[in-house]
Symmetry: C2
Subunit: 398 residues, 2 copies
């Protein structure tokens, strides 16, 4: 496997996690040819379908959990509400652990097993932790999950159930990502953290599926909730690769959507900077994208610059409103995922997105992941005795 | 659409909900020919794939949410633990609202819309309520959801978010299913309750997918968590139809798995009775299968009788142990779904299931649906300061 640094463009052989010269995030060198391997069975792993475009020699199906293969849904009412005529939702909440993270984890675990690793790990208190714990369990590997010691028990339990070695770490949690580069090397633990090259490779498959689902007519905009930057990079890389291979005839504009309470990439991009600065007091309900100093932030900035990208931030209120709008279209997602719709509405209203554009919002995770957000929504109910139900309905709705 | 009563065998035209002569549950008359329509796009609805075998003339994709298409995973370690060599898990937790209910709801909504209904409904406090609320929202229909007034707010919120008309009903909730037969007719509400014929048709697709995923080599046993009986009937009917059409060369033994605290079907079957009796004091943590007087109970009994079926009940302790075992294989499911593994282990140990049999456990819903069950599992963690992590790991795991 050949790697290239997204920052200094140095190249390497083998699965490094960061550039050894400048510590920048690495990309797997894009392949120059390949074919989509269409299968004919329901529920197949997308790793086999896209094997030609992934840094894997083969797929060990015993390690797979049925990742990917998620629907792309054309919007109903929301196309009207948002004013965007061709609006689509890519629903990543139908993955094995109910978030997009499974794609990157699946690729990482395949690679780790093929290269003799018996241990994997991740620094995460949310979707990624659950995903890595699940795939580690599936693979029968020792799995090391590092959460912050301030995490609630409600968030720990759905991770712990998979049986990983669980570490509650006291101190500056944001430092831990960088610590694990060393810890992993010293203890033969293959870390599949937020923006490592193999996780980025997994995220490419979101773009591949969108291309296929739109019959290779690439969308004009793809809106991605952006935290560390790994998923954004992966989706962009997927489109780039299919574009280079001539599968699609244009690159979409990539939209980096962040929460106003923690938007280091949007801050830098809107000020024309090429380097992100740490957000000092991050504060948003969108915990899954609450990364104050994203390790792939600069790499995202350079993709935005190169491909006429857009960045946008939305308030928690806009996000919660969008969460409700999505649910009323049948899609119950995390607040973080709702950022995409809120961003689309904003860009439409500000005239920054054409009304006839085709737009794909990537919904990254299930609403069941963070049910505390439900407390922000009003619940109205009719309270009625069983003997009165028929009469009540005829009167109220007759 | 032609219907046949599962009890008195009377036949009808049109979408009745129960038999007008004897009140028995109805089946859609099986089709005598058809072809699987293989698609080549990821994440497609299975309604189009199996259209020939469903009582629909066409599929309106605007009403679909990407239902079905769930993975069938060969077991890893659990094949050894359970002593069953060819053990598979059908993971229904990857549906749009994270349970199998979406298949039946999807078929019901298609039918309702095609026949001019503007209102749908369901009596449910759990998976079915969320599913019907989501599909109703997607279809832009007025959706009537009837929950018990004793339901916790934590269970209501993930239903209410979709924006249905929500009714909290006081009184004997188990009577409400029968009330809605009348309420629906009087108010033009198409109820897609637990065991109505169209929901049963949706559940058939679980069997269809299993057949395809096993390359049309039918499994020896299919284990289904059984509550009202609609899903059990649907899965059995799917296998029967593919068997009749010659797609598979045998009928699997259907296994009806219930919780010991509420096992009316198992009670009747193990005593050789052909009619279920109401369980007076149901008590199990498996809320999703806690139905003391299943409306399709007798229909399930007759399927068990006709096809050499098996029934089994397991305790809450066995269920929770099985939930943990599944999670340690990468599958975090509801306690109700874990009943299948607990039942399989029991049947294997009792010598009632051959060691070389192929067995499919149907995992009906996500573990995130009922996180209170997590409190029954121990959580162990290593507590460590950020400066000590490297040293700690080298020492403990070096």
């Amino acid at each position: 496997m050949k790697m290239i640094c997204t920052a200094c463009k140095a190249t390497f052989e083998g699965a490094q996690l960061r550039c050894v010269s400048c510590s920048g995030p690495l990309d797997v060198m894009p392949l120059t040819e390949g074919t989509i391997r269409r299968g004919d069975k329901p529920g197949a792993s997308i790793l086999e379908r896209y094997l030609d475009f992934l840094p894997l020699d083969r797929v060990n199906t015993a390690l797979a959990l049925g990742e990917g293969n998620t629907p792309l849904l054309p919007s109903g009412k929301l196309a009207e509400v948002s004013g965007i005529g061709k609006l689509f939702f890519k629903n990543e909440a139908q993955n094995p652990t109910w978030s997009f993270k499974d794609r990157g984890t699946a690729v990482g675990v395949q690679y780790a097993a093929a290269h003799g690793y018996k241990r994997i790990g991740a620094v995460s208190t949310g979707n990624m932790a659950a995903s890595v714990a699940a795939y580690g369990a599936r693979a029968g590997m020792d799995t090391f999950i590092f959460v912050s010691d301030r995490i609630d028990v409600e968030k720990v339990s759905p991770i712990a159930i998979y049986g990983p070695h669980l570490f509650k770490v006291a101190g500056d949690y944001s430092q831990l990502y960088f610590e694990t580069l060393k810890i992993g090397a010293e203890n033969d633990i293959f870390f599949i953290n937020s923006d490592v090259p193999l996780r980025v490779e997994g995220s490419k498959t979101i773009a591949f599926e969108i291309c296929e689902q739109l019959s290779f007519d690439a969308p004009d905009y793809v809106v991605v909730p952006t935290s560390a930057g790994g998923n954004f990079r992966g989706i962009a890389k997927g489109f780039m690769e299919f574009h280079k291979l001539g599968f699609i005839n244009k690159m979409p504009h990539m939209v980096c959507a962040q929460a106003a309470g923690c938007s280091p990439i949007h801050n830098a991009f809107s000020q024309g900077k090429s380097v992100v600065e740490r957000v000092e007091h991050p504060d948003t309900i969108a915990h899954a994208i609450n990364n104050p100093f994203p390790p792939s932030g600069n790499a995202v900035l350079s993709i935005l610059g190169e491909y006429n990208g857009v960045s946008v931030s939305v308030t928690d209120e806009e996000m919660i409103r969008a969460q409700k709008m999505l649910a009323e279209e049948g899609l119950f997602v995390q607040p973080d995922s709702a950022v995409t719709l809120a961003a689309t509405i904003k860009l439409g209203q500000d005239g920054l997105m054409e009304k006839d554009a085709s737009v794909v919002c990537v919904l990254t995770g299930s609403g069941l992941k963070f049910t505390k957000a439900l407390e922000l929504h009003d619940i109205k109910s009719h309270n009625v005795g069983i003997g009165e139900v028929g009469k009540y309905i005829s009167k109220q709705f007759g």
